[in-house]
Symmetry: C2
């Protein structure tokens, strides 16, 4: 692997990986999702939606009807852009975030992650820079790494990312000759922190990026999962569709198993994304698309989504209460208004060690904060998910986190 | 787009595409699949399986049962390698081609095309070379182009590709300092020519590539679609699992709509492919996987596959008969023993013009041969698919191809 002469190269495929394969390493949090399944572990790690709220019998009936009435068609190759009724439905979903989208701007993808991959593939050469929140979605780091893109983080506070700091970072990077290709953001119920970008900051962020000709890549997986439906902020895309590329997902508002999401972009960009998408997946699963059209277009969808949001709200409240009860002094956490996550800031000057393994030793699975940064910094923070655990599990899991943090302090004090 | 100074760069995303995006152009055959749907056009273009043979009511019942009995589980995130029962089933399918595979070597993918993308992503840097048959699968050219890989073609004859010619090409490329990363081949019922690599050539191809440390990438979408079940050749993978990466597909033996395929590779390679796959699609659709396990593992699958193969055999016979009847002198074609396609060689010294549009003018959709080469050469050949048209349509379509070819000759003679 160290590039020796041809005759010393080992036979077989391993010697011949591409340069980018250096980045195809297990993420530091990959193991936690396996450990999280172990008996006795309370998992506050994974951002899983609660699929228990879905009307399974209704979905069974819909799927059976689709296959029985239109089998030869829905089992055949489909359109590369996505089936027409689904792109229409996506426009309706985007209207809930205030956006006026038309089907010629919608590219259906095999999940929002695939959308993120395609946009990165279309825009980014090795060595290019993406500016992203710090911390950011761990799965986005995997994508950017696979294209040898450098991620530059801009800190988030309770109001999201500071647009002036983003602008200053872009300008500073350009001054030293770097090429900034995208500003990647999860503006609503941010993964991993749970914070939401305020409306003034939304307007300003889109503005400073448009001025600099850097597209904003808005990842909006959680936008419809606010605890208070009345209080919904405009999507970045709705503020300037020419300056923003929008990633949508059916994973959190319906089911992640179907692998279905979308990209909204300028028609000329969408057309290129379709060509890139066809080279990877040809098209997303037609059965998934047909089921999404039937279900999300039916009267069953909204009540189930509201049931889910009510559960997430109650679980978030339970987590906030448990944090008040069990956290040692000096720990701070975010207070989300939606989504799946809260974020804990620990003492930034202390050595917290390997939080993932320390958590597992105490019987709780969590995502260590360092995993959400591209620069491999040590963890002085952690992410807790409240979406997929019961209120009792949350209380117990947070108690264990508190125990772990106190134990860490004691152990260090005793060193 | 021509790389002017920063101040002259147009605002917005278009200016900032990656270098590879130059290759995200519509393929020359993309339009034909749209035109093929026009009234009055006989389509011999697309390699669609006949989904009319599938037992739709059975599939409807299976899907309903899966959702109704295990809804919360099958609608949740799944395993990145694929669900365990499916990797087991894949090993059984591979055994039909003589291969002994184990689940730790199987990576389930969101279609075989996604497998091709992942292998290319893992192995190929820009400027690397892939040696492939000439002509080759048009969708593979899209993948290789998207990674800025150069394709070097080695001609096929009625027995497939000549292993000695492949070896000589690799050696010649190395002599001039090029890096050959993969030998890509569709050895069985080749797309687009329909020919099958003979058993001696299979053994020798694997041998010469292993000697040179170049992995063979075997694309085996059609291996189970032979007209004569008794006459089955060993897969390349079965001959040397350490030297071959195998791509399998459920698209032709079940349904392309589900987007489900697999890669078989050394465990260490498979593990890297899983990480790369998770960054793109997280996992393939769980519903697709569950349905494939139920259906392909049931007593319904093999009879439907046999019904399909019988239809393809009859349609191929109809095409051979029509070719005998309608082709002008000097046209030669392959005589497939399975798969979906035959390949016509026209007069190599004549200018055949734009065969796609000439075909459409005569009311027949076909794939011009030039589209199946990476070098943009003019078409002196064409691909006809017999998989998705009735015998009457095939006769009429081939008659129109003959008319087109005679018309071309007449027009040139009259110029």
């Amino acid at each position: 692997m160290s590039g020796g002469a041809a005759e010393s190269r080992p036979a077989g495929p391993v010697a011949a990986f591409a340069h980018r394969a250096e980045h195809f390493r297990p993420s530091p949090v990959r193991a936690v999702f396996e450990h999280a399944m172990r008996p006795g572990i309370v998992s506050l790690a994974g951002g899983n939606p609660d699929t228990g709220v879905l009307p399974h019998e209704v979905l069974a009936g819909m799927t059976a009807r689709i296959l029985s009435e239109r089998g030869p068609e829905v089992l055949q190759y489909g359109s590369g852009a996505g089936i027409a009724r689904l792109t229409g439905l996506v426009c309706e979903l985007m209207a809930l975030g205030g956006a006026v989208a038309t089907p010629d701007r919608i590219q259906v993808t095999a999940g929002s992650q695939a959308g993120l991959d395609l946009v990165t593939k279309l825009f980014c050469d090795p060595g290019d820079v993406v500016v992203a929140e710090g911390p950011t979605y761990v799965g986005a780091l995997g994508v950017f790494g696979s294209y040898e893109v450098e991620v530059q983080h801009v800190d988030v506070d309770e109001d999201g990312v500071d647009p002036e700091a983003v602008a200053a970072r872009i300008d500073a990077l350009r001054t030293v000759g770097r090429t900034v290709k995208l500003v990647y953001t999860v503006p609503t119920f941010h993964n991993p922190t749970g914070v939401t970008l305020t409306e003034p900051r939304r307007r300003r962020l889109v503005e400073v990026c448009a001025q600099r000709g850097v597209p904003v890549l808005e990842d909006d997986a959680y936008g419809l999962l606010g605890f208070d439906r009345a209080h919904r902020l405009p999507s970045l895309y709705s503020l300037d569709p020419g300056a923003v590329i929008h990633l949508g997902s059916f994973s959190k508002i319906f089911s992640p198993a179907l692998r279905l999401g979308w990209i909204a972009a300028e028609p000329s960009v969408r057309a290129r994304l379709q060509i890139a998408a066809e080279a990877v997946t040809i098209h997303p699963s037609v059965l998934s698309q047909e089921l999404a059209v039937e279900y999300v277009g039916s009267e069953h969808w909204r009540p189930a989504l509201d049931r889910a949001a009510a559960r997430y709200r109650a679980r978030c409240a339970a987590m906030m209460e448990a944090l008040e009860t069990y956290m040692p002094a000096g720990v701070r956490w975010t207070r989300p208004c939606g989504g799946f996550f809260t974020w804990l800031d620990l003492d930034p000057d202390a050595d917290h060690g390997d939080l993932m393994h320390r958590g597992l030793e105490h019987g709780v699975a969590l995502v260590p904060g360092g995993a959400c940064y591209a620069d491999g910094r040590p963890s002085t923070s952690l992410r807790l998910a409240f979406s997929a655990a019961s209120e009792a599990e949350i209380a117990e899991g947070v108690r264990r986190v508190g125990e772990m943090l106190r134990d860490g302090v004691r152990r260090r004090a005793g060193d």
